[in-house]
Symmetry: C2
Subunit: 554 residues, 2 copies
């Protein structure tokens, strides 16, 4: 039997953009056809975008998805690509009228087979039992005499189900179409999983994944092929369009390795996820520019650098908003950063506005504004100014808070928490520093100017909301804080487990209490890209109203 | 066989408050025992509170729930109530370690039976497939020779499953323990459903429900008993503690009707839900006071009245924040309202702050602040002042927006959208007027002063952010807008269905477009009580980033 050329089309669709997504599919089909592909596979839900959430339940949306699939099929035939087998993800409708997560197989201008995802993830960020009915049949199609099994994403993450039934189906390739969101280190897990399934079905596994940002999720692509023995044979880059070609070997031929992209470092990968998440949030929502406050600190510096990498420095409005407490070096660092990025830099002193409020407002027993409320006021005056720029000129306001601040509530709601997108939302403070250092080093290694002023990285972090304030007045040291948060939030360990690991009891109780009490603030925080195993947001659903405190259990 | 006295304990637990919830259970057991009850049933998850969301997944939380059940069992025996059968809802753990939604049956100081909920709702506001494993066994216990079947909430909403298996189990009473959130008109649906199940199993159905607020949900109680023929035999009030006693008839006795509470009017019921939701959000989160801006308009007037009914007028800080555009009658109406409610009333003019920003800020091409951005600024200055009061004195800030505004994005983010709770979040503008009129008429019928100034109800609604502005400059008339929103949002109809109902095409397209584009603002809006079949929030999960527009389909 001759070999069969398989193309995996790693693309970036947009939720609800049926014409645009169909166009992306056709373009990649043309490229695959020109490259001599016999079969081209697109990711999960490529026609509708992913995840579509409750849009799945709308009849009008379901009809539009089916129409787009039919139009793709017709166009393929009309454009002379009817001889190629096209596998793509779409929203289907089951016999009982319920929506399903489906793979459609197109040949000669028609949908010749459909497969419905069996295993519907309903944990973490996923709600697929809410919107989809599960399938219960397997799908095997033939192309050039080869038997291709088709499954969708979660189907390979669960034992049993359609993959185990592929053994009896005697498939020569298992094609897995995916919408698998990025998490650090997940690429390795996917390779191991695919290798296990390949050995299980005694056939190569071809894994094609979406890439691009969708609200709080980022899809990384990194499509790949493993052989029947589990060895990696081909792979595509992260966060980019790709058409990965791989030839299923002919009879008695050895499998032919194709291009293998070296995996990125963790820093590069996480940074790339933040850039992609920000870029796609801005562009897919029809905008092109962002605005943010530049304090001279590390968070706004990293956020601005990510924004400049995503959109171009000329599309970043960086505003220094100094108060009476801002140090000169902070203002200098902000200016240098803006110059390095080529950003639109402005300086607006907040002192007159803050003074006006402080001089006028009185509270019970004639008290004046002071303490934390006075600090909050400064942050809110800054938000008013930044939102005035956003509303007057159109750029999206970025919130620059990091995950450590979001966890502990070390943020002013309607102040520095204001914004439409939060690029650092899932980066703890320790990682913010790591990524800043990595970004500077990466620039240096490419002979470019490191964008982030070293003093923004080196100086003790401070909100500069009162004289000589540093974050560590209010919080445990960040290296310790982030370790405790990693255990409590990301690994969902309880107080008993944290104490057993040797963390100081007072620190644990303080961090857990701060985290539990800040839930109400997190609910009003903007979306930002998930890059860890457990991000705040729909990944971690907790009541605001709760008297549960881990401390209760002693 | 002699009769058996059944008590349904309608109570208001708090999520995570195991000691407090156990105390509530024991208190109601004592009252039931004193009233001669043989069996007392408590609502779903009464020990843990409901819904607990991802807290269910924590081992420490699971252990605390089991410990609380064991302590209740021991206390019952120690207090001489070991002869009574107690049925209560709790968080259990299945053999494989997964959490389950469970009913525990306690007799003589021990848990003698456990039932695991079969049907796990995973639609609307519910995520139970995410956190619970389903059960597959039925539960029948005997008390005084009677066979009682036990099921949990969703089990009676789905055909098949444990209820259908009760027929063969020959039960004499079906006890249903519930955590069924309020929606207008749901009481009637519950009665019909229970009647159908009663006829199915040929036995009376005893339905006990939670009451109280939990974030965006309100449980209304309204527990009841229907006979084997479906007739209503006993019922408890809405939004209140109750111990509903009902005697299962002895052999050859006719069923004895007990107290039947007349159902509330829809207005009274919805108003009660808003009061309960607000009161419990404030109190269960450890606060006692609220603050809000009083514009003289109908929304802030109704919100303040709800707050005064929930917490007492003396716990409401009402702040008039007039601008250069505020009319004298608006200021007068705010003062009259505050006096009627006995609120802490303050006046703080925003003009100096607004002028300071307007005089200083410039934008691209030297433009000054004007148009919608200038309107937004006023709303944000108000939010700064209200948050300064909240931060300095402790009251929770209420956002006073209604559902029509939230749908169309007719609200300023970080301005009037600021707040920790939004009591009108699920009331459209038409209903805001209805409830204001109802509340005034109800006061009059009780010989009290109607709290809301008639001119707040009668005048054309205006944000008063520019001269002579009225809402209808920017939005369709509210009666029309609310009808379109009712179809599109609450009944999830598509554009085609709306046009088929005869709505004007231009109006439909404008309202749908406004609604779709405001999703990002809704994500940052505070929680508020769900009172309709479909509220914004976790009840309606849509992507922010979406190019889907109903208009595409023509």
């Amino acid at each position: 039997m001759p070999s069969l050329r398989l193309a995996l089309a790693q693309v970036n669709p947009c939720v609800g953009d049926f014409p645009g997504n169909a166009r992306i599919v056709l373009e990649h089909c043309r490229a695959a056809h020109a490259a001599g592909a016999d079969v081209v596979a697109f990711p999960e839900m490529v026609i509708a975008g992913y995840p579509i959430e409750d849009l799945a339940l709308r009849k009008s949306f379901q009809r539009a998805a089916e129409r787009a699939v039919q139009e793709v099929a017709s166009s393929l035939a009309a454009d002379g690509m009817g001889d190629m087998t096209v596998i793509l993800g779409t929203l289907g409708v089951a016999g009982d009228g319920r929506p399903v997560n489906q793979a459609a197989v197109i040949e000669a201008g028609e949908v010749v087979a459909r497969y419905t995802k069996h295993h519907l993830p309903n944990y973490g960020v996923f709600d697929e039992r809410r919107i989809f009915a599960p399938g219960d049949e397997t799908c095997v199609v033939e192309a050039r005499g080869r038997r291709l099994g088709i499954v969708i994403c979660e189907d390979i993450w669960q034992d049993g189900g359609p993959v185990s039934r592929m053994v009896a189906a005697d498939v020569q390739v298992l094609v897995v179409i995916n919408g698998s969101p990025f998490e650090e280190g997940k690429g390795h897990i996917r390779h191991e999983l695919a290798a296990r399934r390949a050995r299980e079905v005694s056939a190569p596994v071809a894994y094609v994944n979406l890439w691009g940002g969708q609200d709080d999720l980022v899809f990384d692509g990194q499509s790949f092929v493993v052989g029947a023995d589990g060895a990696l044979l081909a792979s595509a880059p992260a966060f980019a369009d790709a058409l990965l070609l791989w030839d299923v070997p002919g009879d008695h031929e050895a499998p032919s390795p194709s291009a293998i992209f070296p995996p990125l470092s963790t820093d590069a990968e996480v940074y790339g996820a933040c850039v992609t998440g920000l870029r796609d949030y801005v562009r897919k929502n029809g905008m092109s520019k962002v605005v943010l406050g530049l304090s001279g600190g590390i968070d706004s510096a990293l956020a601005a650098t990510i924004a400049a990498d995503a959109l171009g420095g000329e599309n970043v409005v960086g505003v220094s908003l100094p108060s009476r407490y801002s140090s000169d070096h902070s203002k200098d660092d902000a200016a240098v950063l803006a110059a390095n990025l080529g950003a639109d830099y402005r300086v607006i002193a907040i002192e007159p506005f803050v003074s006006a409020f402080e001089a006028t407002l009185t509270f019970d027993k004639g008290r004046r504004l002071d303490g934390v409320p006075a600090e909050n006021l400064q942050a809110r005056v800054r938000a008013i100014i930044l939102m005035a720029i956003s509303n007057s000129e159109g750029p999206l306001l970025l919130a620059t808070g990091n995950k450590s601040e979001l966890a502990t509530g070390y943020t002013t709601i309607y102040g520095d928490a204001a914004g439409g997108f939060a690029p650092l939302k899932d980066l703890d403070k320790t990682r913010v520093w790591d990524l800043a250092r990595w970004r500077n080093a990466d620039a240096a290694s490419r002979g470019k100017t490191p964008p982030i002023p070293p003093s923004s990285i080196e100086k003790p972090p401070s909100a500069e909301l009162r004289p000589n304030q540093v974050d560590q007045d209010s919080l445990p040291p960040y290296d310790l804080l982030d370790e405790v948060l990693d255990s409590y939030v990301e690994h969902a360990e309880g107080r008993a487990e944290l104490l057993a690991r040797g963390f100081d009891e007072a620190v644990v109780d303080r961090v857990l209490s701060l985290t539990d009490r800040a839930e109400w603030k997190r609910r009003q925080y903007p979306p930002g890209p998930k890059v860890t195993a457990l991000a705040f947001g729909r990944d971690r659903r907790l009541p605001i109203t709760s008297r549960w405190r881990e401390k209760v259990e002693l």
